[in-house]
C-alpha cells in the first residue's frame, strides 16, 4: 500500500488538532473548552492508530478504513468545534446560561454541562446525545435571534431531546408505534398493496412486511420524539413555549418534514397537551399557523399519512409520559402569582426582582410583549419596546441567577 493515503490522513488529523489548539486559548470558557478537549482526545486516538499501528504492509482495506475514519471524524467534529467556538461569541445571551444550566441539571443530573451557541440556520436545534461528549447538552439558537431572551423557552424542546434519550423512551414507544402503523396500513390496504403487490396483508408483521414499512416507521418515531419534546418544552415553560414557538415558526416553514407532524397537527397536539397540563393557551394561537407544502409523490404521501396516523395514536401516551416525568423530576408548576409580580415589575420598566424561575420570567416577558399599552406612560421606552423588554428579561435572568447563588451560598455556609 503506498504511503499517500496514510500521509494524507496523518496530515488531516494533525491540521484538525492544530485548529483546536488555536481556538482553545487559556481563557476559553469552561464548558465549551471541555468539549474541545474531549473532541481532541478522539483525534488523539486516530493519530495513535495512524502513527503507531499502521504501516504500508498492512491490509489495504484496513488502511483505507482508517483513512475513511479520519474523514468521518472531521465531518462529525468540525461542526461541533465551530459550535463550541460560536458559544463564546458576544451575540449570545450569556445571561441565560446560568439559569438554563440550573434547569438542565435539575432535569438531567448535577453533572450536566450546557453549551448554548448560535447557528447560521434559522431553527433552534440540539445535537443528539454525543457519546464523545457525555453529559453535554448543546443548544443552538439561530444567530439572528441568539440575543433574544424571549425565545429561551424553545431551549425546553432541546432539553426534551436530552431527557428522551436519557430515559430511552424510544425503546418504550417502538412497540406501540409499530402496532399503530400496521393498523393504519391495514386500513389503507388497497392503496398499500398497489405499491407492494407481492405482499400479503398477513405478512405485515413478518420480515418481508417490515421491510416495506421500516423507512416510514422511522418517520413516525421521529415525529413522536419531536412531539414529546414539544410537550416537554411546554410543561417546562408553560404558555411562553407556545409564544416563542409562534414567534419563530408561524405560520410554517415552506416544506413539510417527515420528521415532524404537520404544523397544524403539531399545534393541535400542543393545545391538547396544554389542556392536560393546565396551561392557558393564547386564544389566537391556532389561527397563526398553517400547513407546509407537502410535495410528496403518491407513495410517499401514503407512507407519510400512515406514519401520521400512527403518531396520532401514540400522542396521548406521550403527554402522559411528560406528566409523569414532571412529577418524577419535581418540575415546578406554572407560577401564576410570580408571573403577575414579574409583569408588574416590567410595567414599571424594571427587571423582575423576585422571579422564582426562568419560565416565570419568560411568561411575564411574553405577557408584556403582547400588552400593547404597557409603556404608554414611557413613550421613549415604548418606541424601543422590543429592545428594552429583551434587556429586562435578560437582566431578570441575571438577578435570578445571582439570588439563587446567594441562597445556595447561605445554605452551604
Amino acid at each position: 500500500m503506498p504511503r499517500t493515503l496514510l500521509d494524507h490522513a496523518v496530515a488531516r488529523v494533525a491540521a484538525a488538532r492544530a485548529e483546536i489548539a488555536r481556538i482553545r486559548t487559556p481563557d476559553f470558557p469552561l464548558a465549551p473548552g471541555k468539549g474541545l478537549e474531549l473532541i481532541d482526545s478522539e483525534f488523539v486516538e486516530l493519530q495513535k492508530t495512524l502513527l503507531e499501528d499502521l504501516d504500508t504492509d498492512n491490509d489495504p482495506e484496513a488502511v483505507k478504513a482508517v483513512a475513511e475514519s479520519t474523514l468521518e471524524a472531521l465531518e462529525k467534529y468540525l461542526p461541533l468545534i465551530g459550535f463550541m467556538l460560536r458559544a463564546t461569541n458576544v451575540r449570545n445571551a450569556f445571561e441565560l446560561n446560568g439559569p438554563l444550566l440550573r434547569m438542565a441539571r435539575q432535569i438531567l443530573g448535577s453533572d450536566t454541562r450546557v453549551v448554548v451557541s448560535s447557528e447560521w440556520e434559522f431553527s433552534p436545534f440540539t445535537y443528539r446525545s454525543i457519546v464523545e461528549l457525555p453529559k453535554f447538552v448543546l443548544i443552538g439558537m439561530p444567530a439572528s435571534e441568539s440575543g433574544n431572551g424571549l425565545i429561551v423557552p424553545l431551549a425546553g424542546h432541546e432539553l426534551g431531546h436530552a431527557i428522551y434519550e436519557r430515559k430511552d423512551l424510544r425503546s418504550r414507544i417502538e412497540g406501540p408505534v409499530a402496532d399503530a402503523l400496521v393498523a393504519a396500513i391495514e386500513k389503507r390496504w388497497t392503496e398499500y398493496s398497489q405499491i407492494f403487490p407481492d405482499l400479503e396483508k398477513d405478512q405485515l408483521g413478518a420480515s418481508d412486511g417490515r421491510d416495506t414499512w421500516e423507512p416510514f416507521f422511522d418517520w413516525a418515531i421521529d415525529q413522536c420524539e419531536e412531539s414529546f419534546c414539544d410537550f416537554f418544552g411546554l410543561r417546562l415553560f408553560s404558555e411562553s413555549y407556545l409564544q416563542a414557538f409562534a414567534y419563530l415558526l408561524a405560520p410554517c416553514l415552506r416544506y413539510r418534514s417527515t420528521s415532524y407532524p404537520s404544523m397544524t397537527v403539531r399545534v393541535d397536539n400542543m393545545i391538547q397537551a396544554a389542556a392536560a397540563f393546565g396551561i392557558p393557551v393564547p386564544p389566537e394561537l391556532a389561527g397563526l399557523f398553517r400547513d407546509s407544502r407537502e410535495d410528496f409523490l403518491p407513495p410517499q404521501r401514503l407512507f407519510c399519512a400512515v406514519a401520521d396516523s400512527a403518531v396520532a395514536v401514540v400522542v396521548p401516551s406521550l403527554i402522559d409520559e411528560v406528566k409523569a416525568l414532571a412529577t418524577e423530576l419535581g418540575l415546578p408548576d406554572r407560577d401564576d402569582q410570580g408571573i403577575k409580580a414579574a409583569l408588574r415589575d416590567f410595567q414599571t420598566v424594571i427587571p423582575a426582582r423576585n422571579a422564582s424561575s426562568l419560565p416565570t420570567i419568560a411568561n411575564a416577558g411574553w405577557a408584556a410583549y403582547h400588552d400593547l399599552e404597557i409603556w404608554d406612560k414611557y413613550p421613549d421606552m415604548a418606541k424601543r419596546k422590543q429592545e428594552v423588554l429583551n434587556d429586562l428579561v435578560l437582566k431578570s435572568a441575571e438577578i435570578l441567577e445571582i439570588s439563587q447563588r446567594l441562597t445556595e451560598g447561605k445554605h452551604s455556609a
Binding site: A65, E132, A178
Partner: protein, 153 residues
C-alpha cells in the same frame, strides 16, 4: 479547577449503536491485521470491541425475545454486517445476536492470542463491515435530520 480528560479507555462500555463504534471497529481491524502479520502491537481496540459486541448481544437479545414487531436497529445493522462479511450469513434475529456474541468472544480470545489466522481474517472482515455499517447508519440519520436549505447543494 482542573478537570480530567475522559478518554476512550475511561469510558469502558459502548452502547450497541455508539457513534464511536466505527472508529473502534476500524482500529480493531488494524490490530487484527497486525496479529495476522505477527506484529507485536497493541490489542486494546480488539478487546474493547469484543466486550462491546457481547454487550450488544445482551442488550438486543431481550428485545428479540419479546418478539417485538419491529427489529431493534442493532439487529438491522448486524444483518447488514453479516451479509457483507460472511458467505453464509444468518437470517433470523436470534441467530444474528448469537453471531455477534460469538464474535465478541472470539475477539476477546484473539486479544489473548488464542485464535488462528483464518479466524483472525474472518474477524477482520467482520470488524471492517461493522465499522462501515454503523458509520453509514449514523451518516444517513445525520443527513435526514440536517435542515435542507434551498440555496445549499
Amino acid at each position: 479547577m482542573t478537570e480530567g480528560t475522559a478518554t476512550l479507555e475511561q469510558t469502558q462500555t459502548l452502547r450497541p449503536l455508539d457513534t464511536r463504534i466505527p472508529v473502534l471497529a476500524t482500529r480493531a481491524a488494524v490490530q487484527l491485521d497486525n496479529l495476522i502479520l505477527q506484529k507485536n502491537k497493541s490489542v486494546e481496540a480488539i478487546r474493547r470491541l469484543g466486550a462491546s459486541l457481547r454487550e450488544t448481544a445482551a442488550a438486543t437479545a431481550s428485545a428479540v425475545s419479546k418478539k417485538a414487531l419491529i427489529d431493534p436497529v442493532a439487529i438491522r445493522i448486524l444483518r447488514v454486517v453479516s451479509e457483507h462479511a460472511l458467505k453464509t450469513a444468518p437470517t433470523t434475529a436470534a441467530d444474528l445476536v448469537q453471531q455477534a456474541k460469538e464474535n465478541g468472544e472470539k475477539l476477546l480470545a484473539a486479544a489473548d492470542g488464542r485464535v488462528g489466522a483464518d479466524d483472525l481474517k474472518l474477524l477482520r472482515a467482520y470488524c471492517l463491515a461493522l465499522s462501515r455499517a454503523v458509520a453509514s447508519f449514523h451518516q444517513l440519520r445525520q443527513d435526514s435530520l440536517k435542515p435542507l436549505h434551498r440555496l445549499r447543494r
